[in-house]
Amino acid sequence: MTQAPLLQVENLAIGFRSSAGDRVVVKGASFEIAPGETLALVGESGSGKSITALSVMQLLQYPPAFHPTGSVLFKGEEMIGAPDEKLRSIRGGEIAMIFQEPMTSLNPLHTIERQVSESLILHRGMNREAARARTLELLEKVGLRDAESRLGAYPHQLSGGQRQRVMIATALANEPSLLIADEPTTALDVTIQAQILALLKDLQAEMGMALLLITHDLGVVRKMSQRLCVMKDGEIVETGDTETVFAAPAHPYTKTLIDSEPRGRKEPAEEEAPVVLEASDVKVWFPIKAGVFRHTVGHVKAVDGISVSVREGETLGVVGESGSGKTTLGMALLRLQPSTGAIRFLDQDIADLKRNAMRPLRREIQIVFQDPFSSLSPRMSVGQIVEEGLMIHGLGEGSAERVQIVESVLEEVGLDPEARHRYPHEFSGGQRQRISIARALVLKPRLIVLDEPTSALDMTVQAQIVELLRGLQRAHGLAYVFISHDLKVVRALADDVLVMRNGQVMEFGPCDRVFDHPETDYTRALMTAAFDLEVAGTDAVSQ
């Protein structure tokens, strides 16, 4: 490297003091960024990548945080222990940061103009008019449509992608030489993610700033960065050029991480396997009420006339961006959400069954939710959670036999049978998801609706859960309705794919056909955004 590094982090350790003793969470991290370069910090949750980035700007709470060793040199000057005034002038001036969640990082009570112009007025001493002109310029630069009319808007009036653009405009206001982006696209839909990444790349090239990108998404790393650092348990285990590392990872953890990208294809289900669930023309319309008498003036068509069918041993993938109605469809198929249209389960019409008549069938149709933290009762032990279904349906003679069933199911999903005595909060996200699967599986269902079961999990854990689901399907001939926004996982698991948008089917067909030869512009844009992280057919997607 010929240029002097812009940022040089040397043997940085970060610890937290508490009454229970000091805990060091980052141990001896070293990396450097040259001007104009993009360095990616990759790692799973808990690896210490975010607090490493925060400590570059000295944004942690000191105390309890402290640095046992190390130095952070920005343009040759030490940041650790620098006086507050100096840090304040660097933060937002020389170094800017954008965060993951655009809703909570914008102040809900300030207009867009105020959010962006705040740092202009603070750091540059601009007056209101000059700041306004510059704000407008910035908003246009980050590609916010109708920027002028948006100046008076509040954050809740913008979409997630637009909010992230505003965040970027705020960060760029003082033309920083280093931009720290902490999971900038994780909370966004794939098509929006592609737009934001393209924007960041353009702006970087135009303004010549360096980018420290913190992410868990290897696709984003590969797309954006020249070099990367892989973090695990507070240590940087591998550093190198992005291309080299992807081609020949040196550290075993990096290998695992790269291998955990969902791969493989599902073996097709048998042609003559019986149809487990068949639904036609399912509609879920939520009335919009207005006026003094609350009469219905229109409907939000969350699910608008969708027909599906799943055979034994088959997986139907339902994909779509947030708000497309895919979860609502899942709930309607489970009869947990009132809907119209015919739903047949094993040749029995269940669309109009009363709740009591539905109860015996509940055994056969189960669900696994996205968030492994809210889907388990916090005050019940794992054993009680898994056993509940058995009790409701009167399965198993006596408690000894039920315990036996519970233990064997826990074993089947890869948990220690002794886990039944413990409580959900003692488990990691992946283990909790296994508990959820055990709760569904214990009833020996025919069909499981999986609502984004892997979205809240780390990459390596996600790969394990995908493997588990595949194995269970093979062993029990289960039918899956797999709802996800993650097209890579769907591709690895599904036989058929249903692409949804605004409650309607955009495309339906066998997995390979839809992924390799999408027929509609929207599906094509979705595929390009998901697999190549490129923006294609801007007309087909929203901002």
């Binding site: 947990l336 669900i367 939710f369 809210s374 388990l376 009762s377 409580y423």
Partner: protein
């Protein structure tokens, strides 16, 4: 760990953390012990303040007048009724052939000290530590009994109103929609009724006793927990674990009881000391106004009323006020410690 069991039940780590948080609030922790100490002592008020001796040894035999009634003839008197042990003549009869052990405060709840020579209400003295009221009854004895009935009444009212309130809140929160809407309006109207006047009207056409007062006060008291529990149920019924239970085929009652109630109980529990406080205050104010417990019963409100009508005897008002202030403060301190214990920011860490 030595600390992971309580009353023989294994504690979850979360409960252990909560107990530790409760103990960490020193003021609340000691308040709990002081309050429990006072309450347990007052449960044995008959042994502390009573006009009957605890033990009498007479003519070689032992008698326990506190638990059993004996005619005066037993001790060589002439009457076939129970003797007035405060009567110097009776004392003399007993000391002639044995001895008597009197309680610490030799006056009961209704004992009128006929043998005092001072004007009523009499000031604090060695004979009556906190003086007497205008009917010659010992103030300290009445305060001890008054404390007991206040706490017992408060506990009973809190228990019953919590059961009613939690049930109402749970149903409202769980079923939501129109049911919730109508019920919320009913509660709002109900809360708008000037409760003291209604209580006074009620109290005027029934002969108020402990149970009647409990029912009358319950009419207005049950609403205190409704909103908390309702909010908890509204939130939790849409969480995935409640929906998962629905998908398992669980009935409404079992979802409410098994999955939602334990979470709502945490919120409710934090409020309980404050509910208890307001229950005690409600009874005291009715007693003060003379619409409370029947005449002659021990009650703090009645002591305060006496203090008001006998301003020349400040020991009445001051001692009544002190007992109330100490009791209510202890409960508030306990409530603060309970709130700390259940604070998610402290117990999740």
């Amino acid at each position: 760990m030595a600390d992971d069991r309580l009353f023989g039940r294994t504690l979850t780590p979360m409960t252990q953390r909560r107990l530790a948080n409760f103990r960490a609030n020193k003021r609340g922790y000691w308040s709990l012990w002081i309050f429990l100490g006072l309450f347990v002592l007052s449960l044995f008020a008959e042994l502390i303040a009573n006009d009957k001796p605890l033990v009498v040894q007479y003519d070689g035999a032992f008698y326990f007048p506190v638990v059993q009634s004996y005619p005066e003839t037993t001790f060589g008197g002439v009457l076939r009724t129970e003797p007035d042990y405060a009567d110097p003549a009776v004392k003399q009869l007993i000391s002639a052939k044995g001895w008597a052990l009197y309680p610490l405060i030799p006056y009961g709840l209704r004992t009128v000290d006929f043998w005092s020579r001072e004007a009523l209400p009499s000031a604090p003295s060695a004979r009556h530590w906190l003086g007497t009221d205008d009917q010659g009854r010992d103030v300290l004895a009445r305060l001890i009994y008054g404390f007991r009935i206040s706490v017992l009444f408060g506990l009973a009212l809190t228990l019953v109103s919590s059961v009613v309130g939690i049930t109402a809140g749970a149903l409202q929160g769980y079923f939501g929609g129109l049911f919730d809407l109508i019920f919320q309006r009913v509660i709002e109207i109900w809360q708008g009724i000037p409760r003291l006047y209604v209580l006074i009207i009620f109290a005027s056409f029934v002969e108020p006793n402990f149970w009647w007062l409990l029912i009358i006060l319950l009419f207005f008291h049950w609403m205190s927990l409704v909103s908390v529990v309702r909010a908890e149920f509204l939130r939790a019924r849409n969480l995935d674990y409640a929906r998962a239970a629905l998908a398992l085929g669980a009935s409404d009652a079992s979802i409410m009881y098994k999955h939602l109630l334990p979470n709502a109980m945490v919120a409710a529990l934090t409020f309980l000391p404050f509910v208890l406080n307001s229950a005690i205050t409600a009874l005291t104010s009715l007693d003060f106004l003379g619409f409370g417990l029947p005449p002659g019963s021990a009650s703090l409100g009645e002591v305060l009323a006496q203090g008001k009508s006998n301003l020349q005897a400040p020991w009445l008002g001051i001692s009544g006020f002190l007992v109330l202030a100490v009791m209510l403060s202890l409960l508030i301190f306990i409530g603060e410690a309970v709130r700390d214990a259940f604070d998610p920011r402290k117990s999740m860490g």
